[in-house]
Protein backbone atom coordinates (compact mmCIF):
# COMPACT_ATOMS: atom_id res chain seq x y z
CA UNK A 1 0.00 0.00 0.00
CA UNK A 2 1.36 3.40 -0.92
CA UNK A 3 1.33 6.04 1.82
CA UNK A 4 -1.18 8.15 -0.08
CA UNK A 5 -3.65 5.27 -0.30
CA UNK A 6 -4.28 5.13 3.44
CA UNK A 7 -6.09 8.44 4.02
CA UNK A 8 -8.24 8.03 0.93
CA UNK A 9 -9.34 4.50 1.79
CA UNK A 10 -10.43 5.40 5.29
CA UNK A 11 -10.81 8.96 6.39
CA UNK A 12 -11.07 8.08 10.06
CA UNK A 13 -8.18 5.71 10.22
CA UNK A 14 -5.38 8.09 11.20
CA UNK A 15 -7.29 9.48 14.16
CA UNK A 16 -8.27 6.05 15.38
CA UNK A 17 -4.74 4.88 15.00
CA UNK A 18 -3.36 7.71 17.07
CA UNK A 19 -5.70 7.05 19.97
CA UNK A 20 -5.37 3.31 19.94
CA UNK A 21 -1.59 3.36 19.65
CA UNK A 22 -1.46 5.09 23.00
CA UNK A 23 -4.18 2.93 24.53
CA UNK A 24 -3.14 -0.39 23.05
CA UNK A 25 -2.49 -3.03 25.62
CA UNK A 26 -4.04 -1.32 28.60
CA UNK A 27 -7.31 -0.71 26.72
CA UNK A 28 -7.54 -4.29 25.61
CA UNK A 29 -6.76 -5.46 29.09
CA UNK A 30 -9.48 -3.27 30.62
CA UNK A 31 -11.99 -4.41 28.00
CA UNK A 32 -11.10 -8.04 28.61
CA UNK A 33 -11.39 -7.57 32.35
CA UNK A 34 -14.75 -5.76 32.22
CA UNK A 35 -16.16 -8.35 29.85
CA UNK A 36 -14.83 -11.23 31.89
CA UNK A 37 -16.29 -9.77 35.06
CA UNK A 38 -19.67 -9.22 33.40
CA UNK A 39 -19.67 -12.74 32.01
CA UNK A 40 -18.32 -14.21 35.23
CA UNK A 41 -21.09 -12.46 37.14
CA UNK A 42 -23.59 -14.63 35.33
CA UNK A 43 -21.83 -17.76 36.51
CA UNK A 44 -21.68 -16.26 39.98
CA UNK A 45 -25.44 -15.65 39.93
CA UNK A 46 -26.13 -19.26 39.04
CA UNK A 47 -23.86 -20.52 41.79
CA UNK A 48 -25.41 -18.04 44.23
CA UNK A 49 -28.92 -19.25 43.44
CA UNK A 50 -27.85 -22.84 44.06
CA UNK A 51 -25.95 -22.00 47.24
CA UNK A 52 -28.79 -19.84 48.63
CA UNK A 53 -31.36 -22.53 48.06
CA UNK A 54 -29.19 -25.19 49.68
CA UNK A 55 -28.36 -22.85 52.57
CA UNK A 56 -32.02 -22.03 53.23
CA UNK A 57 -32.97 -25.68 52.90
CA UNK A 58 -30.23 -26.98 55.17
CA UNK A 59 -32.27 -27.20 58.42
CA UNK A 60 -34.91 -29.22 56.66
CA UNK A 61 -32.41 -31.47 54.91
CA UNK A 62 -30.78 -32.17 58.28
CA UNK A 63 -34.12 -32.70 60.00
CA UNK A 64 -35.85 -35.02 57.55
CA UNK A 65 -33.27 -36.20 55.03
CA UNK A 66 -34.55 -38.24 52.10
CA UNK A 67 -37.79 -39.21 53.83
CA UNK A 68 -38.86 -35.63 53.05
CA UNK A 69 -39.71 -36.74 49.54
CA UNK A 70 -41.37 -39.97 50.69
CA UNK A 71 -44.33 -38.58 52.60
CA UNK A 72 -47.15 -36.30 51.60
CA UNK A 73 -47.97 -35.00 55.08
CA UNK A 74 -47.58 -31.22 54.86
CA UNK A 75 -48.86 -29.33 57.87
CA UNK A 76 -47.14 -26.04 58.65
CA UNK A 77 -49.31 -25.60 61.74
CA UNK A 78 -47.69 -28.68 63.32
CA UNK A 79 -44.32 -28.15 61.60
CA UNK A 80 -44.64 -31.46 59.73
CA UNK A 81 -43.30 -31.44 56.20
CA UNK A 82 -43.28 -34.00 53.40
CA UNK A 83 -43.02 -33.08 49.72
CA UNK A 84 -44.42 -36.16 47.97
CA UNK A 85 -47.69 -34.45 47.05
CA UNK A 86 -45.86 -31.59 45.35
CA UNK A 87 -43.59 -33.92 43.40
CA UNK A 88 -46.65 -35.91 42.39
CA UNK A 89 -48.60 -32.80 41.38
CA UNK A 90 -45.70 -31.43 39.36
CA UNK A 91 -45.22 -34.75 37.59
CA UNK A 92 -48.94 -35.13 36.86
CA UNK A 93 -49.48 -31.62 35.54
CA UNK A 94 -46.29 -31.64 33.47
CA UNK A 95 -46.95 -35.03 31.90
CA UNK A 96 -50.58 -34.25 31.09
CA UNK A 97 -49.56 -30.84 29.74
CA UNK A 98 -46.94 -32.41 27.48
CA UNK A 99 -49.41 -35.03 26.25
CA UNK A 100 -51.55 -32.15 25.06
CA UNK A 101 -48.80 -29.80 23.90
CA UNK A 102 -46.38 -32.13 22.11
CA UNK A 103 -48.66 -33.30 19.28
CA UNK A 104 -49.99 -29.79 18.75
CA UNK A 105 -46.55 -28.20 19.01
CA UNK A 106 -45.00 -30.62 16.53
CA UNK A 107 -47.97 -30.13 14.21
CA UNK A 108 -47.45 -26.38 14.32
CA UNK A 109 -43.70 -26.79 13.72
CA UNK A 110 -44.27 -28.97 10.66
CA UNK A 111 -46.86 -26.50 9.41
CA UNK A 112 -44.31 -23.71 9.73
CA UNK A 113 -41.48 -25.49 7.95
CA UNK A 114 -43.02 -27.85 5.41
CA UNK A 115 -46.76 -28.30 5.18
CA UNK A 116 -48.34 -24.88 5.64
CA UNK A 117 -49.05 -22.50 2.78
CA UNK A 118 -45.99 -20.27 2.46
CA UNK A 119 -47.70 -16.90 2.89
CA UNK A 120 -49.19 -18.08 6.19
CA UNK A 121 -45.97 -19.38 7.73
CA UNK A 122 -44.49 -16.11 8.85
CA UNK A 123 -47.60 -14.59 10.45
CA UNK A 124 -48.45 -17.86 12.19
CA UNK A 125 -44.90 -18.02 13.47
CA UNK A 126 -45.17 -14.51 14.94
CA UNK A 127 -48.51 -15.30 16.57
CA UNK A 128 -47.14 -18.46 18.18
CA UNK A 129 -44.26 -16.40 19.55
CA UNK A 130 -46.75 -13.85 20.83
CA UNK A 131 -48.38 -16.65 22.79
CA UNK A 132 -45.10 -16.96 24.68
CA UNK A 133 -45.07 -13.23 25.43
CA UNK A 134 -48.31 -13.21 27.42
CA UNK A 135 -47.42 -12.93 31.12
CA UNK A 136 -47.90 -15.98 33.27
CA UNK A 137 -50.13 -14.05 35.67
CA UNK A 138 -52.52 -13.19 32.83
CA UNK A 139 -52.71 -16.87 31.91
CA UNK A 140 -53.56 -17.52 35.54
CA UNK A 141 -56.31 -14.91 35.58
CA UNK A 142 -57.78 -16.20 32.34
CA UNK A 143 -57.60 -19.80 33.49
CA UNK A 144 -59.26 -19.04 36.81
CA UNK A 145 -62.20 -17.11 35.36
CA UNK A 146 -62.63 -18.62 31.91
CA UNK A 147 -61.13 -22.10 31.71
CA UNK A 148 -62.03 -23.35 35.19
CA UNK A 149 -65.77 -22.47 34.97
CA UNK A 150 -65.89 -24.06 31.52
CA UNK A 151 -64.29 -27.23 32.85
CA UNK A 152 -66.65 -27.37 35.80
CA UNK A 153 -69.83 -26.78 33.85
CA UNK A 154 -69.30 -28.85 30.72
CA UNK A 155 -65.96 -30.48 30.01
CA UNK A 156 -65.38 -32.33 33.27
CA UNK A 157 -68.93 -33.74 33.42
CA UNK A 158 -68.46 -34.98 29.86
CA UNK A 159 -65.13 -36.59 30.73
CA UNK A 160 -66.65 -38.10 33.88
CA UNK A 161 -69.05 -39.96 31.60
CA UNK A 162 -66.04 -41.75 30.11
CA UNK A 163 -65.02 -42.77 33.60
CA UNK A 164 -61.80 -44.48 34.60
CA UNK A 165 -59.36 -43.58 37.36
CA UNK A 166 -58.27 -40.35 35.66
CA UNK A 167 -61.75 -38.84 35.49
CA UNK A 168 -63.15 -39.49 38.91
CA UNK A 169 -64.69 -37.27 41.56
CA UNK A 170 -66.81 -34.16 41.46
CA UNK A 171 -66.07 -31.58 38.75
CA UNK A 172 -64.37 -28.71 40.55
CA UNK A 173 -63.00 -26.61 37.70
CA UNK A 174 -59.72 -25.82 39.39
CA UNK A 175 -57.39 -28.77 39.88
CA UNK A 176 -54.82 -30.88 38.07
CA UNK A 177 -56.65 -30.85 34.75
CA UNK A 178 -57.10 -27.08 34.67
CA UNK A 179 -53.45 -26.50 35.58
CA UNK A 180 -52.37 -29.00 32.93
CA UNK A 181 -54.38 -27.29 30.22
CA UNK A 182 -52.92 -23.88 31.04
CA UNK A 183 -49.44 -25.39 31.21
CA UNK A 184 -49.98 -27.00 27.83
CA UNK A 185 -50.88 -23.64 26.31
CA UNK A 186 -47.86 -22.03 27.96
CA UNK A 187 -45.24 -24.61 26.90
CA UNK A 188 -46.68 -24.98 23.42
CA UNK A 189 -44.76 -21.99 21.99
CA UNK A 190 -41.51 -23.37 23.41
CA UNK A 191 -42.04 -26.76 21.83
CA UNK A 192 -43.33 -25.32 18.56
CA UNK A 193 -40.60 -22.72 18.05
CA UNK A 194 -37.67 -24.91 19.08
CA UNK A 195 -39.00 -27.74 16.90
CA UNK A 196 -39.50 -25.28 14.06
CA UNK A 197 -35.85 -24.19 14.33
CA UNK A 198 -34.68 -27.79 14.51
CA UNK A 199 -36.74 -28.77 11.45
CA UNK A 200 -35.67 -25.69 9.53
CA UNK A 201 -32.04 -26.65 10.19
CA UNK A 202 -32.46 -29.84 8.15
CA UNK A 203 -30.50 -29.03 4.98
CA UNK A 204 -32.69 -28.08 2.03
CA UNK A 205 -30.62 -30.39 -0.20
CA UNK A 206 -32.16 -33.34 1.60
CA UNK A 207 -35.67 -32.02 1.11
CA UNK A 208 -34.96 -31.38 -2.55
CA UNK A 209 -33.37 -34.80 -2.93
CA UNK A 210 -36.57 -36.45 -1.75
CA UNK A 211 -38.82 -34.16 -3.80
CA UNK A 212 -36.82 -34.93 -6.93
CA UNK A 213 -37.49 -38.62 -6.33
CA UNK A 214 -41.21 -37.94 -6.45
CA UNK A 215 -41.93 -37.52 -2.74
CA UNK A 216 -45.01 -35.67 -1.56
CA UNK A 217 -44.59 -32.95 1.06
CA UNK A 218 -45.61 -35.38 3.78
CA UNK A 219 -43.19 -38.04 2.50
CA UNK A 220 -40.42 -35.47 2.82
CA UNK A 221 -41.37 -34.79 6.44
CA UNK A 222 -41.85 -38.42 7.36
CA UNK A 223 -38.88 -40.00 5.64
CA UNK A 224 -36.24 -37.28 5.58
CA UNK A 225 -36.91 -34.31 7.84
CA UNK A 226 -38.13 -36.01 11.01
CA UNK A 227 -35.57 -38.85 11.04
CA UNK A 228 -32.83 -36.27 10.53
CA UNK A 229 -34.15 -34.01 13.29
CA UNK A 230 -35.16 -36.66 15.81
CA UNK A 231 -32.58 -35.72 18.43
CA UNK A 232 -33.40 -32.05 18.27
CA UNK A 233 -37.13 -32.69 18.46
CA UNK A 234 -36.56 -34.75 21.57
CA UNK A 235 -34.58 -31.83 22.95
CA UNK A 236 -37.50 -29.49 22.19
CA UNK A 237 -39.83 -31.75 24.16
CA UNK A 238 -37.41 -31.83 27.09
CA UNK A 239 -37.17 -28.03 27.04
CA UNK A 240 -40.96 -27.89 27.13
CA UNK A 241 -40.96 -30.28 30.06
CA UNK A 242 -38.43 -28.12 31.89
CA UNK A 243 -40.68 -25.10 31.39
CA UNK A 244 -43.76 -26.98 32.54
CA UNK A 245 -42.03 -28.11 35.73
CA UNK A 246 -40.83 -24.61 36.57
CA UNK A 247 -43.96 -22.66 35.66
CA UNK A 248 -45.32 -21.08 38.82
CA UNK A 249 -47.91 -18.33 38.86
CA UNK A 250 -50.46 -19.60 36.37
CA UNK A 251 -50.39 -23.01 38.01
CA UNK A 252 -50.67 -21.53 41.50
CA UNK A 253 -53.93 -19.80 40.57
CA UNK A 254 -55.75 -22.89 39.30
CA UNK A 255 -54.09 -25.94 40.88
CA UNK A 256 -56.47 -25.96 43.86
CA UNK A 257 -53.67 -25.82 46.44
CA UNK A 258 -54.23 -29.06 48.30
CA UNK A 259 -51.31 -31.32 49.23
CA UNK A 260 -52.90 -34.60 48.15
CA UNK A 261 -51.78 -37.51 46.05
CA UNK A 262 -54.63 -38.44 43.75
CA UNK A 263 -54.78 -40.09 40.37
CA UNK A 264 -57.87 -38.16 39.33
CA UNK A 265 -57.34 -35.19 37.05
CA UNK A 266 -60.37 -33.47 38.58
CA UNK A 267 -58.83 -33.41 42.07
CA UNK A 268 -57.15 -30.29 43.39
CA UNK A 269 -53.41 -30.69 43.90
CA UNK A 270 -50.24 -28.74 44.45
CA UNK A 271 -46.97 -28.40 42.59
CA UNK A 272 -43.45 -27.69 43.80
CA UNK A 273 -43.30 -24.20 42.34
CA UNK A 274 -46.82 -23.17 43.34
CA UNK A 275 -46.40 -24.17 46.99
CA UNK A 276 -43.31 -21.96 47.18
CA UNK A 277 -45.21 -19.07 45.60
CA UNK A 278 -48.14 -19.43 47.96
CA UNK A 279 -46.42 -20.19 51.26
CA UNK A 280 -42.94 -18.68 51.13
CA UNK A 281 -44.05 -15.04 51.64
CA UNK A 282 -46.03 -15.98 54.75
CA UNK A 283 -43.85 -18.73 56.17
CA UNK A 284 -42.98 -17.94 59.75
CA UNK A 285 -41.24 -20.93 61.31
CA UNK A 286 -37.66 -21.55 60.23
CA UNK A 287 -38.42 -25.16 59.41
CA UNK A 288 -41.31 -24.11 57.15
CA UNK A 289 -38.97 -21.82 55.20
CA UNK A 290 -36.37 -24.57 55.05
CA UNK A 291 -38.89 -27.16 53.88
CA UNK A 292 -40.06 -24.84 51.10
CA UNK A 293 -36.45 -24.22 50.14
CA UNK A 294 -35.85 -27.96 50.01
CA UNK A 295 -38.77 -28.25 47.60
CA UNK A 296 -37.07 -25.45 45.66
CA UNK A 297 -33.83 -27.40 45.66
CA UNK A 298 -35.48 -30.39 44.03
CA UNK A 299 -37.15 -28.04 41.55
CA UNK A 300 -33.74 -26.55 40.76
CA UNK A 301 -32.11 -29.93 40.24
CA UNK A 302 -34.94 -31.22 38.04
CA UNK A 303 -35.21 -28.13 35.81
CA UNK A 304 -31.43 -27.82 35.43
CA UNK A 305 -31.18 -31.50 34.51
CA UNK A 306 -33.90 -31.21 31.89
CA UNK A 307 -32.48 -28.02 30.45
CA UNK A 308 -28.92 -29.32 30.24
CA UNK A 309 -30.09 -32.52 28.58
CA UNK A 310 -32.27 -30.57 26.15
CA UNK A 311 -29.53 -28.09 25.25
CA UNK A 312 -27.09 -30.90 24.59
CA UNK A 313 -29.57 -32.59 22.27
CA UNK A 314 -30.56 -29.44 20.41
CA UNK A 315 -26.99 -28.24 20.13
CA UNK A 316 -25.72 -31.65 19.05
CA UNK A 317 -28.11 -31.27 16.15
CA UNK A 318 -26.45 -28.02 15.17
CA UNK A 319 -22.98 -29.51 15.36
CA UNK A 320 -24.15 -32.43 13.30
CA UNK A 321 -25.27 -30.06 10.61
CA UNK A 322 -21.97 -28.20 10.67
CA UNK A 323 -20.20 -31.47 9.99
CA UNK A 324 -22.33 -32.49 7.04
CA UNK A 325 -22.09 -29.16 5.23
CA UNK A 326 -18.65 -28.94 3.62
CA UNK A 327 -17.18 -25.46 3.82
CA UNK A 328 -16.76 -23.42 0.70
CA UNK A 329 -19.82 -24.66 -1.12
CA UNK A 330 -22.21 -22.03 -2.43
Amino acid sequence: MTPSALPSSSREAPRALRITDAARGSGDRVFGAVGAVAAGFLGLVLVTVAVCVVHLAWPSIRETGLSFFGTSAWDPARDVYGALAFVWGTAMTSVVALCLAVPIGLGVAVFLTDLGPRPLRRPVSSLVELLAAIPSVVYGLWAAFVVAPLLRSSIEPALAAIGGPLFRGPPMGVGILCASIVLAIMVLPTIATVSRDVLAAVPSELREGALALGATSWDVVRLVVVPHARRGLFGAVLLGFGRAVGETIAVATVIGSRADVSLSLFAPGYTMSSVIANEFPSATSDLHVAALAEVGLLLFVVTVAFNVAARLLVRGERYGRALTVPAGNR
Partner: protein, 269 residues
Amino acid sequence: MTESIDSIRLRAARPLEAEPVKMRATSLSAWFGDKRALSNISMPLVERKVTAVIGPSGCGKSTFIRCLNRMHEVVAGARVSGDVLLDGKSIYAPDVDPVRVRRRVGMVFQKPNPFPTMSIRDNVLAGLRLSGIEPPDEDALVEEVLGRVALWDEVKDSLDRPGGELSGGQQQRLCIARCLALEPEVVLMDEPCSSLDPVATAKIEELIHDLRDRYTIVVVTHSMQQAARVSDYTAFFYLGELVEYDHADVIFTKPSDPRTEDYITGRFG
Protein backbone atom coordinates in the same frame (compact mmCIF):
# COMPACT_ATOMS: atom_id res chain seq x y z
CA MET B 1 -31.74 -7.08 -30.25
CA THR B 2 -34.32 -9.64 -29.11
CA GLU B 3 -35.23 -10.13 -32.73
CA SER B 4 -31.72 -11.12 -33.71
CA ILE B 5 -31.33 -13.56 -30.82
CA ASP B 6 -34.56 -15.28 -31.77
CA SER B 7 -33.55 -15.59 -35.35
CA ILE B 8 -30.20 -17.06 -34.39
CA ARG B 9 -31.88 -19.49 -32.06
CA LEU B 10 -34.34 -20.57 -34.72
CA ARG B 11 -31.62 -20.94 -37.28
CA ALA B 12 -29.65 -23.10 -34.90
CA ALA B 13 -32.59 -25.14 -33.81
CA ARG B 14 -34.03 -25.98 -37.17
CA PRO B 15 -31.56 -28.67 -38.36
CA LEU B 16 -32.04 -30.48 -35.07
CA GLU B 17 -35.78 -30.92 -35.51
CA ALA B 18 -35.21 -34.14 -37.37
CA GLU B 19 -34.20 -35.82 -34.11
CA PRO B 20 -36.92 -37.10 -31.70
CA VAL B 21 -37.55 -34.48 -29.05
CA LYS B 22 -38.11 -35.71 -25.47
CA MET B 23 -38.73 -32.36 -23.81
CA ARG B 24 -39.18 -28.85 -25.07
CA ALA B 25 -39.15 -25.51 -23.33
CA THR B 26 -41.32 -22.87 -24.99
CA SER B 27 -41.00 -19.20 -24.03
CA LEU B 28 -39.98 -20.28 -20.55
CA SER B 29 -39.35 -17.49 -18.04
CA ALA B 30 -38.67 -17.85 -14.33
CA TRP B 31 -38.58 -15.46 -11.40
CA PHE B 32 -37.34 -15.37 -7.83
CA GLY B 33 -39.69 -12.82 -6.29
CA ASP B 34 -39.28 -9.74 -8.51
CA LYS B 35 -35.98 -10.89 -9.92
CA ARG B 36 -36.19 -12.47 -13.34
CA ALA B 37 -33.80 -15.39 -13.60
CA LEU B 38 -34.78 -16.70 -17.04
CA SER B 39 -36.21 -14.83 -20.02
CA ASN B 40 -38.15 -16.47 -22.74
CA ILE B 41 -36.18 -19.68 -23.24
CA SER B 42 -37.20 -21.96 -26.09
CA MET B 43 -35.18 -25.07 -26.83
CA PRO B 44 -35.63 -28.80 -27.38
CA LEU B 45 -34.03 -31.65 -25.47
CA VAL B 46 -33.28 -34.48 -27.83
CA GLU B 47 -34.20 -38.00 -26.73
CA ARG B 48 -31.37 -40.25 -25.54
CA LYS B 49 -28.77 -37.58 -26.07
CA VAL B 50 -26.74 -35.55 -23.62
CA THR B 51 -27.52 -31.85 -23.64
CA ALA B 52 -25.08 -29.62 -21.80
CA VAL B 53 -26.11 -26.22 -20.45
CA ILE B 54 -23.16 -23.87 -20.04
CA GLY B 55 -22.68 -20.26 -19.07
CA PRO B 56 -21.12 -18.05 -16.43
CA SER B 57 -22.44 -18.32 -12.87
CA GLY B 58 -25.75 -16.57 -12.34
CA CYS B 59 -26.78 -17.04 -15.97
CA GLY B 60 -29.85 -19.07 -15.03
CA LYS B 61 -28.64 -22.49 -16.12
CA SER B 62 -29.49 -24.17 -12.81
CA THR B 63 -32.85 -22.40 -12.71
CA PHE B 64 -33.53 -23.67 -16.20
CA ILE B 65 -33.14 -27.35 -15.38
CA ARG B 66 -35.02 -26.90 -12.12
CA CYS B 67 -37.94 -25.72 -14.25
CA LEU B 68 -37.79 -28.98 -16.21
CA ASN B 69 -39.00 -31.10 -13.27
CA ARG B 70 -40.89 -28.38 -11.40
CA MET B 71 -38.26 -28.09 -8.67
CA HIS B 72 -38.02 -24.35 -9.24
CA GLU B 73 -41.34 -23.73 -7.51
CA VAL B 74 -40.05 -25.42 -4.33
CA VAL B 75 -38.18 -22.22 -3.49
CA ALA B 76 -40.20 -19.50 -1.73
CA GLY B 77 -41.31 -16.70 -4.05
CA ALA B 78 -40.36 -18.60 -7.21
CA ARG B 79 -42.62 -18.63 -10.24
CA VAL B 80 -42.62 -19.64 -13.88
CA SER B 81 -44.29 -18.56 -17.09
CA GLY B 82 -44.21 -20.16 -20.53
CA ASP B 83 -44.30 -23.91 -20.81
CA VAL B 84 -42.30 -27.12 -20.77
CA LEU B 85 -43.46 -30.13 -22.75
CA LEU B 86 -42.62 -33.71 -21.89
CA ASP B 87 -43.46 -36.06 -24.74
CA GLY B 88 -45.51 -33.23 -26.18
CA LYS B 89 -47.59 -32.69 -23.05
CA SER B 90 -47.27 -29.67 -20.79
CA ILE B 91 -45.85 -30.36 -17.34
CA TYR B 92 -47.29 -27.06 -16.11
CA ALA B 93 -50.88 -27.81 -17.08
CA PRO B 94 -53.19 -27.28 -14.08
CA ASP B 95 -54.12 -30.94 -13.81
CA VAL B 96 -50.51 -32.15 -13.77
CA ASP B 97 -49.13 -33.28 -10.43
CA PRO B 98 -45.52 -32.17 -9.92
CA VAL B 99 -44.85 -35.38 -7.99
CA ARG B 100 -45.58 -37.42 -11.13
CA VAL B 101 -43.38 -35.17 -13.23
CA ARG B 102 -40.48 -35.62 -10.84
CA ARG B 103 -40.81 -39.39 -11.00
CA ARG B 104 -40.33 -39.27 -14.76
CA VAL B 105 -37.72 -36.52 -14.74
CA GLY B 106 -35.08 -37.36 -12.16
CA MET B 107 -32.51 -34.98 -10.78
CA VAL B 108 -28.96 -35.12 -9.45
CA PHE B 109 -27.85 -32.13 -7.42
CA GLN B 110 -24.72 -30.03 -7.31
CA LYS B 111 -23.86 -31.22 -3.85
CA PRO B 112 -24.20 -34.94 -3.19
CA ASN B 113 -27.23 -35.34 -0.92
CA PRO B 114 -27.68 -38.96 0.11
CA PHE B 115 -30.12 -39.29 2.99
CA PRO B 116 -27.81 -39.44 6.02
CA THR B 117 -30.22 -41.39 8.19
CA MET B 118 -30.56 -44.17 5.61
CA SER B 119 -28.12 -46.92 4.71
CA ILE B 120 -26.55 -47.12 1.24
CA ARG B 121 -29.04 -49.83 0.32
CA ASP B 122 -32.01 -47.82 1.59
CA ASN B 123 -30.77 -44.78 -0.28
CA VAL B 124 -30.86 -46.74 -3.52
CA LEU B 125 -34.35 -47.98 -2.76
CA ALA B 126 -35.65 -44.69 -1.33
CA GLY B 127 -37.37 -43.53 -4.51
CA LEU B 128 -39.04 -46.88 -5.08
CA ARG B 129 -40.28 -47.11 -1.53
CA LEU B 130 -41.66 -43.59 -1.82
CA SER B 131 -43.56 -44.61 -4.90
CA GLY B 132 -44.93 -47.71 -3.22
CA ILE B 133 -43.11 -50.01 -5.63
CA GLU B 134 -41.87 -53.28 -4.20
CA PRO B 135 -39.32 -54.72 -6.57
CA PRO B 136 -39.48 -58.54 -6.74
CA ASP B 137 -35.81 -58.86 -5.86
CA GLU B 138 -34.47 -55.87 -3.97
CA ASP B 139 -30.96 -57.25 -3.64
CA ALA B 140 -30.64 -57.87 -7.34
CA LEU B 141 -31.95 -54.41 -8.08
CA VAL B 142 -29.54 -52.75 -5.67
CA GLU B 143 -26.65 -54.65 -7.20
CA GLU B 144 -27.77 -53.88 -10.73
CA VAL B 145 -28.24 -50.16 -10.15
CA LEU B 146 -25.07 -49.73 -8.12
CA GLY B 147 -23.28 -51.66 -10.86
CA ARG B 148 -24.58 -49.25 -13.47
CA VAL B 149 -23.00 -46.33 -11.60
CA ALA B 150 -19.80 -48.36 -11.05
CA LEU B 151 -20.20 -48.28 -7.28
CA TRP B 152 -21.07 -51.89 -6.57
CA ASP B 153 -17.51 -53.16 -6.17
CA GLU B 154 -16.66 -50.33 -3.81
CA VAL B 155 -19.64 -50.65 -1.48
CA LYS B 156 -20.90 -54.23 -1.76
CA ASP B 157 -19.53 -55.06 1.69
CA SER B 158 -20.94 -51.99 3.41
CA LEU B 159 -24.49 -51.74 2.10
CA ASP B 160 -25.85 -51.23 5.59
CA ARG B 161 -23.52 -48.35 6.41
CA PRO B 162 -24.97 -44.82 6.27
CA GLY B 163 -24.69 -43.18 2.86
CA GLY B 164 -23.07 -40.15 4.45
CA GLU B 165 -19.90 -42.12 5.21
CA LEU B 166 -18.90 -42.45 1.56
CA SER B 167 -16.46 -40.12 -0.16
CA GLY B 168 -17.88 -37.18 -2.12
CA GLY B 169 -17.53 -38.91 -5.48
CA GLN B 170 -19.07 -42.11 -4.17
CA GLN B 171 -21.92 -40.13 -2.62
CA GLN B 172 -22.65 -38.48 -5.94
CA ARG B 173 -22.70 -41.84 -7.73
CA LEU B 174 -25.01 -43.13 -5.00
CA CYS B 175 -27.32 -40.19 -5.70
CA ILE B 176 -27.26 -41.02 -9.40
CA ALA B 177 -28.07 -44.63 -8.54
CA ARG B 178 -30.93 -43.47 -6.34
CA CYS B 179 -32.26 -41.51 -9.28
CA LEU B 180 -31.79 -44.34 -11.82
CA ALA B 181 -33.51 -46.91 -9.59
CA LEU B 182 -36.78 -45.15 -10.36
CA GLU B 183 -36.22 -45.69 -14.09
CA PRO B 184 -36.78 -42.05 -15.00
CA GLU B 185 -37.03 -41.02 -18.65
CA VAL B 186 -34.96 -37.88 -18.26
CA VAL B 187 -32.04 -37.29 -15.89
CA LEU B 188 -31.19 -33.71 -14.95
CA MET B 189 -27.76 -33.12 -13.47
CA ASP B 190 -27.00 -29.79 -11.82
CA GLU B 191 -23.21 -29.36 -11.86
CA PRO B 192 -22.79 -32.95 -10.67
CA CYS B 193 -19.00 -32.69 -10.48
CA SER B 194 -18.50 -29.25 -9.00
CA SER B 195 -17.74 -30.52 -5.50
CA LEU B 196 -15.67 -33.50 -6.65
CA ASP B 197 -11.98 -34.10 -7.25
CA PRO B 198 -10.67 -34.81 -10.78
CA VAL B 199 -10.63 -38.60 -10.39
CA ALA B 200 -14.24 -38.68 -9.18
CA THR B 201 -15.17 -36.20 -11.93
CA ALA B 202 -13.72 -38.50 -14.57
CA LYS B 203 -15.81 -41.38 -13.22
CA ILE B 204 -19.02 -39.36 -13.33
CA GLU B 205 -18.28 -38.21 -16.87
CA GLU B 206 -17.67 -41.79 -17.93
CA LEU B 207 -20.96 -42.68 -16.32
CA ILE B 208 -22.83 -39.96 -18.22
CA HIS B 209 -21.34 -41.40 -21.38
CA ASP B 210 -22.62 -44.87 -20.55
CA LEU B 211 -26.09 -43.70 -19.55
CA ARG B 212 -26.95 -41.87 -22.75
CA ASP B 213 -28.18 -45.05 -24.44
CA ARG B 214 -31.05 -45.33 -22.00
CA TYR B 215 -31.84 -41.83 -20.78
CA THR B 216 -32.26 -38.31 -22.00
CA ILE B 217 -29.66 -36.41 -20.02
CA VAL B 218 -29.27 -32.71 -19.28
CA VAL B 219 -26.05 -31.62 -17.60
CA VAL B 220 -25.48 -28.15 -16.21
CA THR B 221 -21.81 -27.36 -15.97
CA HIS B 222 -19.58 -24.36 -15.65
CA SER B 223 -16.73 -26.26 -17.27
CA MET B 224 -16.64 -25.90 -21.03
CA GLN B 225 -14.18 -28.77 -21.29
CA GLN B 226 -16.65 -30.99 -19.51
CA ALA B 227 -19.48 -29.89 -21.78
CA ALA B 228 -17.32 -30.58 -24.81
CA ARG B 229 -16.38 -34.00 -23.50
CA VAL B 230 -19.82 -35.29 -22.52
CA SER B 231 -22.46 -33.54 -24.60
CA ASP B 232 -24.09 -34.06 -27.96
CA TYR B 233 -25.90 -30.73 -27.84
CA THR B 234 -24.89 -27.62 -25.99
CA ALA B 235 -26.85 -24.56 -24.95
CA PHE B 236 -25.10 -21.36 -23.92
CA PHE B 237 -26.95 -19.21 -21.40
CA TYR B 238 -26.03 -15.66 -20.57
CA LEU B 239 -27.84 -13.28 -18.20
CA GLY B 240 -30.92 -15.46 -18.13
CA GLU B 241 -31.18 -15.75 -21.89
CA LEU B 242 -30.45 -18.58 -24.26
CA VAL B 243 -27.78 -17.15 -26.52
CA GLU B 244 -27.10 -20.19 -28.64
CA TYR B 245 -28.12 -23.82 -28.94
CA ASP B 246 -26.54 -26.29 -31.34
CA HIS B 247 -24.61 -29.49 -31.78
CA ALA B 248 -21.77 -29.47 -29.28
CA ASP B 249 -19.08 -29.54 -31.93
CA VAL B 250 -20.65 -26.56 -33.68
CA ILE B 251 -20.81 -24.54 -30.46
CA PHE B 252 -17.22 -25.30 -29.60
CA THR B 253 -15.76 -24.86 -33.07
CA LYS B 254 -17.78 -22.25 -34.92
CA PRO B 255 -20.32 -20.55 -32.66
CA SER B 256 -22.53 -18.06 -34.46
CA ASP B 257 -22.97 -15.58 -31.62
CA PRO B 258 -19.96 -13.41 -30.68
CA ARG B 259 -20.84 -13.76 -26.96
CA THR B 260 -20.60 -17.55 -27.18
CA GLU B 261 -17.27 -17.21 -28.85
CA ASP B 262 -16.06 -14.80 -26.18
CA TYR B 263 -17.15 -17.19 -23.48
CA ILE B 264 -15.67 -20.38 -24.88
CA THR B 265 -12.41 -18.64 -25.68
CA GLY B 266 -12.26 -17.47 -22.08
CA ARG B 267 -12.76 -13.76 -22.62
CA PHE B 268 -15.33 -13.57 -19.79
CA GLY B 269 -17.16 -15.76 -17.32
